[in-house]
Symmetry: C2
Subunit: 344 residues, 2 copies
């Protein structure tokens, strides 16, 4: 493996100049730079990462800490890993996942990794309210980026979608169709995005001068099973039955469809259904009949910004450039209709 020294000897240049030429510094003659670049290619030079890391004091490794994903939770976990991995690779960073045991303390795992110096920064997914991971890393002033954001001040890099807007739009859409009992099958209680969606939902209700029924809110892991269970529960409630259901994602929506089918209720004649579509490759909204009305925002498009922002943080890019709330589209399709008064 050729080194800078080899190149220097070959070109009769100092190691310094070779290094600076390759790294695009300004104080090197363009002709020289060209010669160096050609020589580098010819001698198949590739910088020694360990040496570079040693002087930079960084490791070039980005990490994601998570527990072993089990059951339904693992369904889209792979997409996260693959997506982030590809994006970091593009930026010449390594990306590792650190799996922690069931009964291992999460913060302790972060502490170890931070102390080891093996990792330059973390990606935090599934942020929760008052997230201890964020608190810990902020206290250590260690670089990280968050997928999502908190209801509090967010003085850290993040990429998020407009969850408030998503819920507001879906609710508003249903209200305009005359629905007064609108159920929300939300994500895990305590998660930031669920909180944001609940707020959006409540705001739309308030704007439509509709009362808020806590009973119409369901929460849990965003999987098919939650959709099934919640739908059945909502529709067996004796007093307030929803005439419309907002599903937190496509998996939940699938559960809702299955349950409604089992309950012999038609969409949208008996019940309207809407959802948010993360455009998960393996769970397509197009598979729904009747076609599902959704807000749409591809989860896949978050990996690029997340990687970018984390690298940016480490390189000292100002915070304002490392925060983004991505928009969403509204796709009106066939799963919603004006409310009717069929007793169900």
């Amino acid at each position: 493996m050729a080194t800078l020294k080899d190149l220097g000897e070959y070109l009769d240049l100092s190691v310094t100049q070779v290094s600076r030429a390759l790294n695009g510094h300004s104080d090197v003659n363009e002709k020289t730079r060209l010669r160096v670049q050609q020589a580098a290619k010819k001698l198949n030079y590739s910088p020694n990462i360990a040496a570079r890391n040693l002087v930079s004091g960084r490791s070039g490794v980005m990490g994601l800490v998570s527990r072993v994903p089990v059951g339904e939770a693992s369904d889209n976990y792979l997409d996260v890993i693959v997506g982030l991995s590809a994006q970091f690779a593009k930026r010449n960073k390594q990306f590792i996942i650190h799996i922690i045991d069931k009964n291992e303390d999460e913060i302790e795992a972060y502490r170890k990794l931070v102390n080891s110096g093996a990792i330059d920064g973390f990606v935090i997914v599934e942020a929760i309210i008052n997230d201890p991971r964020i608190a810990f890393l902020q206290e250590k002033s260690f670089p990280f980026v968050v997928h999502g954001r908190t209801p509090n001040e967010n003085n850290f890099p993040y990429f998020d979608i407009d969850n408030y807007g998503v819920a507001y739009s879906l609710t508003e859409h249903l209200i305009k169709l005359g629905h007064k009992h609108i159920a929300l099958i939300n994500g895990l209680e305590g998660s930031c995005y669920s909180a944001a969606r609940l707020k959006g939902y409540q705001a739309a209700l308030a704007a439509g001068r509709l009362p808020f029924y806590p009973h119409l809110i369901r929460s849990g892991g965003m999987y098919e099973s939650l959709g099934i269970v919640s739908t059945v529960q909502l529709l067996t409630h004796t007093e307030i039955k929803p005439t419309a259901i907002i599903a937190g994602n496509i998996l939940i929506a699938r559960g809702v469809y299955k349950a409604l089918d089992a309950l012999k209720l038609d969409i949208p004649q008996h019940i309207s259904v809407v959802a948010h579509d993360d455009v998960l490759p393996r769970f397509r909204a197009s598979a729904f009949y009747p076609a599902l009305t959704v807000t749409r925002s591809a989860l896949e498009s978050s990996w690029g910004p997340l990687a970018e922002y984390l690298c940016g943080t480490i390189e000292g890019v100002p915070l304002k450039k490392l925060q983004q709330v991505a928009p969403f589209e509204f796709m009106t399709r066939a799963s919603t209709a004006a409310v009717n008064n069929i007793k169900i």
Copy 2:
């Protein structure tokens, strides 16, 4: 972050001795070693990995190269990643996955990674006959370990299960029950394990003095869909209909069960079914009715040896200690019966 130099000054020792004390060299007084270790803990010392890598000439990173997993293929891919990641973490190695694009050349990706010096060794999964990855890495004499092994000479580290034996046992079991038309729904053609299983199947047929019907062999990605399609095809063949089916794994078996149900054929009254069970956490053999007769060998138990063997290769452990063919269990359950003569 404390360095060796800090420790040396604190203890009034040379950097050399501190290093040797911590690394367990013999020429350091036990009392000194103790002092050093205590000081290291007290000053929260943790070795700088970049510096260590620089002098060792290694990166401490193990890699897995793969294409973006799509569709059914992604189902157990996560288990591979998580399993290997955890095992390497246990050995203080980093583990990264390198995702390559649809139209990117695989060997070229390996070449780049090898040249970059960013990676110490590779894990190769899904080995195929005359695998170009193995050929490339062997030619470069670059460390790697293979999940599986080839039909040729295997002068490299590997961990495999006894695929020949699996197929032989399953086939023999069915032959003993009087079956003469035994179908094999195998993995991808060209893959090493499929080839081994085919050989085991044929050997058992030969031992039972039964003819080999190529029509009874099906191949493909080992997913439910293959099981469904193959079963229907096998049973709509006009001449030779199998009275028993060997499914390559649990997913295929699930497809077989579904297809047989759809075809209104009973297990084992009309058809016997056996399978190999990799003990995938999300696809349990216990979910089958009637209970499925299987050979069993947990895929999960391969990640440890694979990580161990790859680390061993790099450290120069002799090859004999880096090769293993794991055994399997035979579990006779309710999905097999003596052949009968019901015309189907």
